[in-house]
Amino acid sequence: MRRSLLVALVVLPFLASCTKKNAGNEIVIGHYGSMTGSEATFGQSTDEGIRLAIDEINATGGIKGKKIKLITMDDQGKAEEAASVVTRLIEQEKVVALLGEVASSRSLAAAPIAQAKKVPMLTPSSTNPKVTEVGDFIFRACFIDPFQGTVMAKFASENLKAKKVAILRDVKSDYSVGLADFFAAKFKELGGEIVADVSYQGSDVDFKAQLTQIKSKNPDALFIPGYYTEVGLIARQARELGIKSTLMGGDGWDSPKLSEIGKEAVNGAYFSNHYSTESKEPAAIDFMNKFKAKYNKQPDGLSSVAYDATKMLIKAIEASPEIKASAIRDQLAAVKEFQGATGKITIDDKRNAVKSAVVVQVDGSNNKYVTTINP
């Protein structure tokens, strides 16, 4: 009994891997993301956005009579898993296009594989400029760090009239480090002063040491280019310590969880985003309603850019004369003035999305529109 159970345990997985695949009249798209692990919430949000867009197109009959099949594979938030998963999606599932990843580090691990196999890869939210430099099959549907950093630096010095700014960055996240660097460079260029540049590590819960240090420098504003998972707590602790500076951040803040965790501490903070909840744009309103109807919650930033990226990919597939990876690539490269929920997107010659950013102000669960900044 013991022995047979043991043998079954060892042999079963190898059998499980031999399950047959159904190759029907479908267009297969792969999504690789962190569905489990320490960054699971980002991967899952992204997947929700993607599924919403796919279900929508399948409900209207698919593309040229073919339904779209989405295969999501989990990379656990590990770079080497991202590489193996993308290889698997391309080699075994024969996907025509890839969506992913949130983190630039994992996109950078997977992009060379997609490039070598000539499968277009569209990343919804990797903002590091290096990602699309890998090759001509790699695209992105979001703005890049230098642009976002510039937006907030300009906003801080022109609208907030801030002279002294402190930065609190997440050293574990390439997104945060990149954004902080570009912000600092631009802000100094505009004549401001960075009085403190300290860091934390994602999934920390105590930031008081860093904040105490920042408090003594008495900055006009505090720039925190991190994710909502930490920012809510940072904001609370900053207020507890008596820091009165204006808080600022990037699109990583966009989530209903931000104000749930941060409560009144985040009210009045500014961050750059793709759109505001007050947006009058029909595409944005439509998206927010559909998302709420399907998942019974407000979308966060990652869901909305993922939704747009998927829509953009679907449009490219529709426009392709035949459903082939190279044809889809050409159509993606030709995307112009695509009206998504998060704004008008044009793909430039470096395969980056050119789109405007808005600066919003947190007001409870709403993000109030403040200003639009064009690229």
């Binding site: 489990t36 919430t41 860091s199 105590d206 008081k208 040491a209 408090k215 998972t229 609370r236 008596g242």
Partner: protein, 300 residues
């Protein structure tokens, strides 16, 4: 100067959380010589138990002593049951196996709880209900002493005193010490070692339950992996103080908290963890069994 005082307050308050969780590690280690990797995930489950209890009772936004008591009870009960189940089904069958195998089982249980929680509760962070209103106890030159900081420290110290009392002044404690020294001899002397070990797990796990509510009160964000980092730090703190030693765990936790705080405040925030581990390594090189650990001389 204000900064320094503030850093000390922050450090002690963070350290007392490490200490509280370290107590659970050290209890189990004291008896079984097992690093109970699953402890940090029991702590996480405790946080979720109290979260859902508060949701169920509709007390998610009614700060007060009543809420605190309800959540503490819920989380302690949930944690001790879980601890008991883990001990019974995962560790007991391996009582005679080499130490490393139980360790791997503990890691397996830890991974299981983490992934299970991600599937069942979802990976997105949840907001912990507000438990107690935070009040300022004392203020001097902008440096504030908050009630939440004091509560955690007080709870940790009280727990430490109770544990020390139980272990050194009661029959139960005598049985625990006997089990810890030599399990087979203890059982020959009429100690029901299985019961004693189960009891230890109940105590250790309910400490994790208390910790989860207090942490939730201070850092109101809970997610399935919340135990990972804090558990690692708490465990390191337990080793630093001399693992198996109750007072050592508290000392180690406080030292860990304050040194982390000082590293960030005066050296470099980027290298926070590196320095924290560096301090640990230096201390262990000079005191190989931790600060308060007994330096056992091996005899032939």
């Amino acid at each position: 100067m204000e900064d320094f005082v503030q850093h000390i307050i922050n450090g002690v308050s963070l350290g007392s959380i490490y200490a509280l969780i370290a107590l659970g590690y050290t209890m189990v280690y004291g008896i079984l010589q097992l690093i109970n990797f699953a402890h940090s995930d029991v702590y996480m489950m405790g946080a979720f138990a109290s979260y859902y209890t508060a949701m169920f009772l509709g007390r998610d936004n009614q700060p007060g002593v009543g809420t605190l008591v309800i959540l503490l009870v819920a989380s302690m009960v949930a944690c001790s049951l879980l601890g008991l189940v883990i001990e019974r089904f995962c560790y007991r069958p391996l009582r005679k196996a080499p130490k490393l195998n139980i360790l791997i089982t503990a890691i397996g249980v830890s991974l299981f709880l983490e992934y299970f929680a991600q599937v069942v509760f979802g990976a997105d962070p949840k907001v912990f209900p507000s438990v107690l209103n935070d009040t300022v106890l004392a203020e001097m030159n902008g440096v504030q002493l908050k009630s939440s900081d004091v509560t955690v420290l007080a709870v940790t110290v009280i727990m430490m005193l109770i544990l020390n009392f139980v272990i050194y002044k009661t029959m139960l404690g005598k049985a625990m010490r006997a089990t810890s020294t030599n399990m087979s001899v203890a059982s020959l002397m009429g100690v029901n070692t299985d019961k004693i070990i189960a009891f230890t797990f109940i105590v250790g796990s309910s400490l994790a339950g208390v910790g989860s509510v207090l942490v939730g009160m201070k850092y109101p964000k809970i997610d399935p992996l919340m135990g990972m980092l804090i558990g690692l730090k708490a465990f390191v703190a337990a080793v630093l103080g001399g693992i198996g030693n109750i007072a050592g765990a508290v000392l180690g936790g406080l030292l860990m908290g304050v040194s982390e705080e000082m590293v960030v405040g005066y050296l470099s925030s980027t290298y926070r963890d590196a320095f924290a581990f560096g301090i640990l390594i230096v201390i262990l090189i000079f005191r190989p069994s931790g600060l308060l650990g007994k330096n056992s001389v091996e005899k032939v």
